[in-house]
Symmetry: C2
């Protein structure tokens, strides 16, 4: 499914996203224009190196693809094995979620007066090519699950920080918080910067 | 020689370098302040992951460590096996070279009136902890060799571009140019961004 000659897709996305964040600091604009950039990236499912698309039998994988030098943003490939899901969790920074392969369900929650978590409407399903957002200023608490019980799904996430280093929380339905730092599943990142091995495509 | 708990050294260097380039655009200031940052990084030889410190029996290695999102800079670990050397070459962007381990010799050249290359003085030797610069606006053509015929040497380089993608040249002593793009020796980069596996050191 991947081809090193197509590394320019992710490279261009990173360059464009850095330019966006240099020009715009207002979160609504970053989310709006960032969503458009992410839609362009996930329009094609031919660029994600296979090593960053592998499910794990026991747990969903979070493969870091890139962190901005100033940690203004990070890009992560989330790989959901059949039937896998996250705990209920928050992000504490803005996030963009773009569906690359398969499909996922996202259930948002809000706090009730007694601090317990109440679902906000039904879970909604993200299809290939679609992008959704999270943000502390709108909706930041959700649970994500693979929509499929028999196949892998993959979404590409962009966050307004080095997300693997952010101190945030998982939640029980009664609202009990547990502090966590997600880290990443991978110790090696893809080198998408070597143009000597590519045709002159970008 | 490496310890993942010390990833914060390279991470801090990247963050500081990005901040420098956001504040300063004048090359002499970037080279002066960037040299100070690089000196701090190479003050300790305990952070370079072993995978990016391996010599190759036949040729020097160029292990990419990081590229800035906007390709404003790149960081490369150059690993010189015993007796290895580069061809005479240029860079076409500014560069900083910091000696991490061992020692290397750098011979600079200038063009004569008939275009042939003339050495500028004798080769000078870079010792652990020292930094030198290259730049199209001062001296950009040199040849680098391991100062040792019996041990590996390693220098950390910072360039004002994604150096593996820059169209530049190697030279014969008569001045004949050959176009080249160096690329990188590695297809995977170190993930230095996972703070969940580190003590709170940074
Ligand atoms: Fe999430
Ligand atoms: Fe050089
Ligand atoms: Mg960057």
């Amino acid at each position: 499914m991947s081809n090193p000659a197509l590394n320019y897709r992710l490279r261009q996305f990173i360059t464009d996203f850095a330019e966006l964040l240099t020009k715009e600091s207002a979160e609504p604009i970053v989310l709006e224009q960032g969503s458009q950039l992410l839609k362009q990236l996930i329009e094609h499912d031919d660029w994600l190196p296979d090593a960053f698309a592998q499910p794990h039998p026991d747990r969903y994988q979070q493969y870091l693809l890139h962190v901005d030098s100033a940690q203004r943003f990070s890009i992560v490939s989330f790989v959901w094995g059949a039937g896998q899901k996250t705990p209920i969790h928050d992000h504490r920074t803005w996030g963009l979620i773009g569906m690359l392969r398969g499909s996922e369900l996202s259930q948002h929650y809000q706090r009730s007066v007694n601090q317990s978590l109440i679902p906000i409407g039904p879970a909604h399903q993200l299809q290939v090519g679609q992008v959704e957002t999270v943000s502390p200023s709108t909706q930041d608490i959700h649970q994500v699950s693979n929509a499929y019980s028999d196949q892998t799904s993959i979404s590409i996430h962009v966050y307004g920080a080095n997300i693997g280093a952010v101190k945030r929380a998982t939640y029980q339905p009664d609202g009990t918080e547990k502090s966590f730092i997600s880290g990443y599943s991978n110790t090696l990142l893809p080198n998408i910067w070597d143009l000597s091995k590519e045709p002159a495509t970008s």
